[in-house]
């Protein structure tokens, strides 16, 4: 029985020790000396050996459970601090978004087709059947006159910060929905893109019909390029997820989703940044009094910059895979190389 007490003490000591190290942050293991670390690993191996024997030789359920839980703490401590995924995958930094968009260009094409296709179709439809405008347009747009300086400047400069943040959060919400609803095999994403496309196209068509199109474009252009591009890309993020459900390939759908999830998230996060930029322009530049040519210039400049970014960025990793770098003499990589 003396032996048993010693064994229990050994388990308990390892559990407490591992718990303490786990709680003291990501660098806890690195602060240990070589002997301390070797001892910790010895203790972990002794424990996992006990666990394996407990399972295969029929120990009591509680014993197996208890050893299992201690082993989980040890495993999380010893493997959790060295993130294999982080160190093996190259990092592209800010160019990652551009790389992902290029990688999934089929999804971008599909999303743009649905979105702009719906916009174009409703634009043309309103030209030929003006009465459709009453069905498609939201009430506040029927009599909306973008040329009216009161309308154009109807956002008092004091309220602009509030309007700007409302616009940003509303737009980001739309992209989050387009992204998440990709999990409905793309149906939700498509519906969302269609609705937004029809809304855009019918308003544009209606204004065209009533000769207010120049003023409308003037209002939309400064922020529109960035905003519409972001919506398209968010739809693409949704279609990337949908792709894993519709055509998972040789793996289970859940595995395909897991493999592609990071890419879709990367695109979605990029869209959010784009929308923050677009929202700031919409809240501050678009309602301001700058003239028509300057508005075209803002649109051209923003589209040009995005084209440069999406074509040029992210071709080479900003940081090479850490496994390619020489490990130092202790066999541990320099902690600095682990920081993201």
């Amino acid at each position: 029985m003396q032996d048993a007490a010693e064994k229990l003490e050994q388990w308990t000591r390892f559990y407490r020790h591992a718990q303490t190290l786990l709680r003291s942050g990501r660098r806890a293991l690195r602060r240990l000396s070589g002997t301390e670390l070797a001892h910790l690993i010895d203790e972990y191996q002794a424990l996992t050996a006990d666990l394996a024997r407990a399972r295969s030789l029929g120990a009591a359920r509680e014993t197996v459970d208890q050893l299992n839980r201690i082993a989980v703490v040890g495993h999380n401590l010893l493997y959790g601090q060295i993130r294999l995924r982080d160190s093996t995958a190259p990092s592209y930094g800010a160019g990652n978004f551009a790389r992902l968009v290029r990688k999934h260009v089929w999804a971008v094409a599909l999303s743009a087709t649905v979105f702009f296709g719906a916009a174009l179709a409703s634009f043309v439809a309103v030209q030929f059947y003006p009465s459709l405008g009453y069905d498609l347009l939201a009430d506040e747009f029927i009599d909306f006159d973008p040329a009216n300086r009161d309308n154009l400047h109807s956002i008092p400069s004091l309220a602009r910060p509030v309007v700007s943040s409302l616009i940003i959060s509303n737009n980001i919400q739309v992209t989050l929905l387009a992204f998440g609803l990709g999990l409905t095999a793309g149906i939700g994403t498509t519906v969302l893109l269609l609705f937004n496309g029809i809304h855009l196209g019918s308003v544009a068509g209606w204004m065209m019909l009533h000769g207010k199109d120049r003023a409308l474009w003037g209002w939309i252009m400064p922020h529109g390029g960035t905003e519409l591009l972001a919506i398209c890309l968010a739809g693409a993020a949704g279609y990337v997820l949908a792709g894993a459900i519709v055509a998972p390939g040789q793996v289970r759908r859940s595995t395909a989703l897991k493999n592609i999830g990071g890419d879709a998230l990367g695109i979605e996060l990029g869209c959010m940044v784009m929308l923050v930029i677009a929202g700031l322009i919409e809240g501050f530049v678009s309602p301001s009094g700058i003239d028509y040519p300057s508005r075209i210039a803002v649109l051209a400049a923003s589209l040009g910059l995005w084209a440069l970014y999406f074509l040029g960025a992210g071709h080479k990793p900003a940081r090479a895979a850490a496994l390619d770098q020489p490990a130092n003499s202790e066999g541990f990589r320099n902690p600095d190389q682990h920081s993201r």
Partner: protein, 286 residues
């Protein structure tokens, strides 16, 4: 949906986790929802009070009143961040546990058994809209959970996560487990006991040992019931007459003697499993 999930580690140990059921996950969701609403109410109230203060100060001519719109712009953004970021933040920073999950004793883990980080938290929560379909019913997510062997909703699949039960105390049963492990190390493991008329498995022997160790904690009636349940199937193996024992006045005592006898037999018949008779030092185990 199964009850447990096994995860193989790089050193070939299989770690076992108990999956959280829909009940505890829903309860955690309700708690988080209430907490979320309270948080938003608190922020709006704070903003009102601050706004009133700013107005008062500007009326008194202490400062200009231009800061109020910025205050409300901030409030709009903060509320949006709370709505979408509550789970991302708490699960990402709190190792897979939100306040509600902590309360229900569950947490989110990665499929390799490690705690989740911000990336997994963002993935599984930003696609929540799909699980909520048709909003806010969670019917789609619930159906997917029901049919998935690991009880994952869509967000769990995208992020590669499981929701597991997190309950643990270094239990009182530790002592008997440790005694068991020591015996195994010293080569006196419990093996199946082969008798002329059949075998008693190692699990059955374990059950008997555990029962005898804890039977004093049971009430007299419960003990009488349980010991009969355990002993009765073994009687043919021991060549005992079931009917006479069943009618016996001191049935419980006789059963106990039989069980002890079985354990004695098992002790004598054990086969050595460890290579060395003495326990090796921990480092030599592998």
């Amino acid at each position: 949906m199964e009850e447990r999930v096994h995860i193989a580690t790089p050193d070939h140990v299989s770690l076992e986790f108990e999956l959280a059921g829909p009940g505890s996950r829903f309860s955690a969701y309700v708690i988080d929802f209430v907490f979320n609403v309270l948080l938003i109410i608190a922020i709006v109230l704070t903003a009102y009070l601050t706004g009133a203060l700013v107005t008062l100060r500007s009326l008194a001519g202490i400062s200009a009143g231009a800061s109020a719109p910025w205050l409300w712009a901030l409030v709009v953004l903060i509320i949006f961040l709370i709505n979408w970021g509550y789970y991302v933040f708490f699960e990402g920073v709190g190792k897979g546990s939100t306040p509600g999950k902590k309360r229900m004793g569950i947490r989110v883990i990665r499929q390799d058994g490690l705690p989740i980080g911000l990336r997994e938290a963002a993935l599984r929560n930003l696609v929540r809209a799909a699980d909520m379909l048709p909003p806010p019913s969670y019917i789609l997510g619930g159906l997917v959970m029901h049919f998935d062997p690991q009880g994952r909703r869509l967000g769990d699949m995208v992020a590669g996560t499981y929701v597991v039960v997190e309950k643990f105390d270094l239990a009182a049963q530790g002592a008997s487990g440790a005694a068991w492990a020591r015996r195994v190390e010293q080569g006196r493991s419990r093996q199946a006991l082969t008798l002329p008329r059949g075998a008693i498995s190692a699990q059955q022997l374990g059950l008997i040992e555990q029962f005898l160790a804890r039977s004093h904690e049971l009430s007299k009636e419960r003990r009488r019931q349980l010991i009969w349940q355990i002993t009765e199937p073994l009687l043919p193996l021991l060549e005992e007459d079931r009917d006479s024992l069943a009618r016996s006045v001191e049935r419980t005592e006789r059963c106990e003697r039989l069980l002890l006898q079985i354990l004695d037999l098992a002790q004598q018949k054990t086969v050595s499993v460890a290579i060395t008779p003495k326990a090796p030092p921990p480092s030599a185990l592998f």
